[in-house]
Symmetry: D2
Amino acid sequence: MSDPLDREHRSDLRVRYAETDQMGVVYHANYLVWCEIGRTDYIRALGRSYAEMEADGITLAVSEATMRFVGSARYDDPIAVYTRLTELRSRAMAFSYRIEHASAGRTLVTASTTLVALDRTGRPARLPDVVLRILRGEARDTASDGPA
Amino acid sequence: MSDPLDREHRSDLRVRYAETDQMGVVYHANYLVWCEIGRTDYIRALGRSYAEMEADGITLAVSEATMRFVGSARYDDPIAVYTRLTELRSRAMAFSYRIEHASAGRTLVTASTTLVALDRTGRPARLPDVVLRILRGEARDTASDGPA
Amino acid sequence: MSDPLDREHRSDLRVRYAETDQMGVVYHANYLVWCEIGRTDYIRALGRSYAEMEADGITLAVSEATMRFVGSARYDDPIAVYTRLTELRSRAMAFSYRIEHASAGRTLVTASTTLVALDRTGRPARLPDVVLRILRGEARDTASDGPA
Amino acid sequence: MSDPLDREHRSDLRVRYAETDQMGVVYHANYLVWCEIGRTDYIRALGRSYAEMEADGITLAVSEATMRFVGSARYDDPIAVYTRLTELRSRAMAFSYRIEHASAGRTLVTASTTLVALDRTGRPARLPDVVLRILRGEARDTASDGPA
């Protein structure tokens, strides 16, 4: 089976007017929002939505983020967010991101985030087995999957 | 007793860089955020925080908003939000706002919003008596107030 | 020729985590951002990007907005924004919006905005003829269109 | 003279409803916005506003950011942002931040950002001497300061 850590998911979006600032470029904090879009798309592509995970009582909280800004994007620019899962533990995971200007192919931002699983009370929790299996690429989640 | 509908509350803030857009002025949707700051400050000034209301199981959802944009503000400008309660019913209330450039005295935006009370399930609900009394200016909320 | 005022453009998006608030639903000001996505998509679909208009020195500033909130959307919900041009004058235009939960078909918000054209100095300006013609549906903008 | 790198500036703010997400806490990207408030307050406290710097044709672009999230804040919580200048070069500077729940004294986030000076064309530029002197704590900026 292919190593899920080799998987890279691409998300596409377009810069919103609201995301620009008076410098005429995307306000830097918005790239963190795009990273989140990248990792939720990554998880959804594996067969389980992040919204479903939250319905199971598990949330993922960002515990660390690092970002390197190397280019700038403007209003209406097409953006590609490439997301990889770089680490997976029972209670935490890490993703890396490369955000590009989709048509020019220029890298805009590289980033990484670490997330920890929390239960409904905000305490660190173990990721559900089904989520771990999915993220490891061992199984796609299906309603008929038996005990999950 | 003075009519609470005559009361006007002033909130002060400063334009954040993140609130500007590439036109070099405040992005229009942010004025709605400032209106919310205005009305929560208005309620807090009467002696009860909006956060406490939510803890009681009542949320206020915006059901209508109208805004008229007559001037523009720039990064770091000092802003004054003047808020009035214009209508109070058992399940709804309306506020009006005048947002000014605080030092120039120019009006930037006038707005009004209607809010409806919802319970934890999202159903329309009656505002707690204590909140109605406070908003009517009949009583300040105090911890020693007895059953509220 | 069909009346451009009959034209309705549909934009699709998905609710971002950043767009929710602690009530568990989309924060109300974000619908104004989605309206902007609707009208820029509307204009782009006619053959001219709003970014190109700004490059010509004309910006469109929102002068009025009214919104009616009738339903709520949650994280990851699919959203459809239906946009119509409801009025077109030489210096102003108005759009109306109906924002729906795309799969449930429930209306979430209806809204309208008026926009005025401004030149680089922030003064009211006449819309470029090419833009007026495009919005009236008389012509698609093309690079080979001759003087525009 | 005291070392400017010892200086710590405190900014105070209150969590806005718009800054929360459906987890009931502050959405993580908003802490980057608060860091910006911290460093612009830091610079303003030295006698020069960041807005004035931009009027001189110099902008500061964030080139790197690292954040560590150790606690969470809720709507209406009072927040203190403690900002330090940790490095100052002719074309770049770095700040560190400690963001606390102001009344509970709990640390919420520690962060650092590196900023580079850009001219109007977006090219790396030297910080104006007056800004370097101010940040080094050698002089307060005054209108009567002579050529700067």
